[in-house]
Amino acid sequence: MTKLDAVVKELANLGWRGFQAVNERVPDSPSPSPEWAPGPLLKTYQRTKPPLGWPRETDSLCPRCVVETRSAIIRGERDLAELVDGHVGEVKAHILEEGGRLVIRKACPEHGTFEDLLSIDPEFSRIVESRYYGRDFRTLGDEKVHRHGTSSIRYGRGAVLTIDLTNRCNMMCSPCFMDANQVGYVHELTLDEIKEILDDSISFKPRRQMSVQFSGGEPTMSPHFLEACRYAKEIGYYSVQAATNGLRFALEPEFADQAKEAGFDIAYFQFDGVTNEGNSHRHITNLFDVKQKAIESLHAADIDILPVTTVVNTVNDRQVGPILQFVIDNCDKMGGVSFQPVSFTGRDEDISDQDRHRQRYTISHLAHDLSRCFDGKLDPHRDWYPLGAMGAFTALADHLRALSGPESNRFGGLCCSCHPNCGSSVLLVANRRTKAWGAITQFFDMDRFIKDVGVICDTGRGKGLSLTQVALAFLRNFDARKAPAGLTLFEFLKLFNYKMGGSVLGYKEKEADWTVLWVGGMWFQDLWTYDFRRTEMCVIPYGTQEGEVSFCAYNTGVGWRQIVENMHSVARTPEWFNARGKHKIYAGDRPMQVPGKPSLKLPILQAGGTPRVREIG
């Protein structure tokens, strides 16, 4: 660290303290009330939090009662109104610490006791919960969209709106919470239905920016995928992504260009390992080769790629380190990685207790596995923040945009304010050329910066003073001594500004050499870990023909997916194939033929962790 850096840091610290000595004595200014919001922007002391800590009691579900009721509703023996107005399968659950672990335990009078693991490191969980920024607005005017009884979303704008375009898929994977290809019917949205779901999503307050995620089955199998991307952009969403296995992009490179032109931005890309063996549970023997071809097509079309890995203990948990290394080595093409500890739902709802306990993987497992893989460079207690901590940055962006005038106020910023048990992440910086990397929290005091952001938003000064405070907060929390080699303060500021949508520097410019990698752990619930306090503040709802349903209430819980799909199924699968033709399904542990060979040089880690450069094609 040069002397200049040290002087700047110290001056900024003094400047901040001096400023706050006056600032905190002046009464807080009223918060702006942008058009998109149901009221004035929330101060930190106005944000509520769910019950946290332990031991605590919460509301959960009996895994057996729910399945029985759901089946009866689908057969027509019981009424859907029971789900909306009743408390089907609801039981009290206790979250407590036992034997150095966090567990959830509940008892059903009919079916007995159920228990599952929530964390192998209670201190990790305690720190993550303590870093939660607070809930967002309660929703307003959303009766048409949120009408699912105790499963209804009550808080927050949401960050990702998932729309299942079709339940058809060209793979047969295990695990698959969609149960694609197995349910015997086709559920596929028409273009009009897609447009209606998107229109409804901006019909209430807070009207928010979200990343619209098209999913399925395999969304690229829907004939309306391109038109859906275009329409989402037309009505004002600025980010469109798809949860995709990438096969279409490998098989038809032109499709990637067309998707980009239509408005597709990010491939939320299924990616379970860096070898064909690591992907063998997906039943295509050369799947990793196919994935590389897809990465090449997507990158050539300038589509961002976020690999997504479902982690199953004893199956592919050893791949988490090599996968992260792969992402770092390809940080010029990828924006991070999303690890999703397995959720036993869909096809896996019938899992035995023995298998469930053996395969259970938590975010605490992930934090410790990555720490081990990188020899402690990632610290479970220093580096991991709940996804809801991002709410601090959204609050700042909302505040700054509101001060820029009414034109910038059509939508609230993308806000992740989910329950701290839903997911955690660590932010890395990486150099695209040299591949040098480090955790941001290694050189930036994130805890203190988030507190500073809270002060800036709470005191609510004008634009000039707010930006001055942002600059001071930034400078005083950045320690150049600990930053990766070559990362200067200004480059880090440009990274921060880009992630904030340009609201700090007033323009959005991508930093050339350095990039931020988001390494996330998103742990969706299943019937054994279900917690209603999480579903009511879900930020990744499903947009469906029956309104917006919390992600976990849709895929598990009372099973809104099966109910909605049965209500709106288009045809039985054989009828569909007869009338419309059958699509090819890649399964049966056979290789796939793709046109050409990938030509990227991708550093691959062998299964044992030894790096080698593998030249493909």
Partner: protein, 379 residues
Amino acid sequence: MPTSSSTEPISTQARDGFVPPPEAVRTVGRVHLGAMREHDRKVVLLHWEGGRWQDTPDWRLDRQVIRLGLHLQSRVGLAQGERVVILSPLRREWLLADLSAAVQGAVAIAVDPDLPEPALAAALAQIAPRAAFVAGPDELERLESVREGIPGLEEVIAFEGPLAPERAALLCEVLDLGGTLDTAERAGAFRARAREVSPDACALGYVERGADGSTACRYLSHCEVTARLAHLGARATVRKGDVAYLTGSAVTPELRLALLAFAGDGSTTTAIGTPGRAAVEISALRPHKIVAPPEVLLAAATQVTPRREGKGGARGWLERAAHLVPRSRERSRRQESLAALGGRARWIHPTAVPDSSVRGRLHHAVTIDLVSSDGACWT
């Protein structure tokens, strides 16, 4: 007489003045695939609907050609060399119908829907199509009146309804069905099939009426079509961001080739004119290229004449003085005509032999292309 199963082209002689293009773009399919794969153009077509210009992005045209083509292949059983007729005035669906057949090696034949019934019956009997596109209920009725003479006709697709489903399929429904056929594997196979079409195979056809009212179908091979497209591209130079305006009541060969040329160059956005609105639309769009019947060109060119008398000062006096000199007056009128046509047109092509008044008003001001589709020069 060719039958619908015939693969022999009627006329494959290369015409004087048209040099065959490079091998890589010697079929309609290869031109189309090249334009769709590497291009700087976001929008391929514009049409006026609902009080505003509606666009068709490149990617949508590509997907629709694939879907309609797959539907014709898989559900209608259309094979290479078989015929498809298009009975419709110029409209945005025209290009889609044309390409969906020609790209995969079938022959797309334009038939004027306003032909008298005997001539229409004779033409269709001669062509013997496997499938037919019609603009709407009126054209469908005309086709049905002569349908007895075309026993091989498997499917009729209408661009718009309302129609009883047993009479014809609607294009939007066909595209919907074709959408589920549109998988990566089938799309790849469709493109591969398009690349395999022989340059000597028939691509397009059109019906000529003789002075005695008889009809004859003329065909152009892929090589001939692409040679003409290349020729058009050389005369109407391609620049990124170009806008072309096409209008006409009947789809003449000139109009059709221009439409294919602009779609195939990968850079030009083509606006399909609305009947009766040419002057307004040209004035609004300010196209760089115009293809229209001579009477439409003349009407548009004489739309607006700025009042010279209103200008004051030295400039106004100079203009009034120049107007007294015949040559200056002529040049000034030509410039006014160009201004009335949007002011940006670099290339104007009438779809029929223009009379001297049009030539006079426009010649020398812009490139007015008087070379017809069969190579005849009108100057």
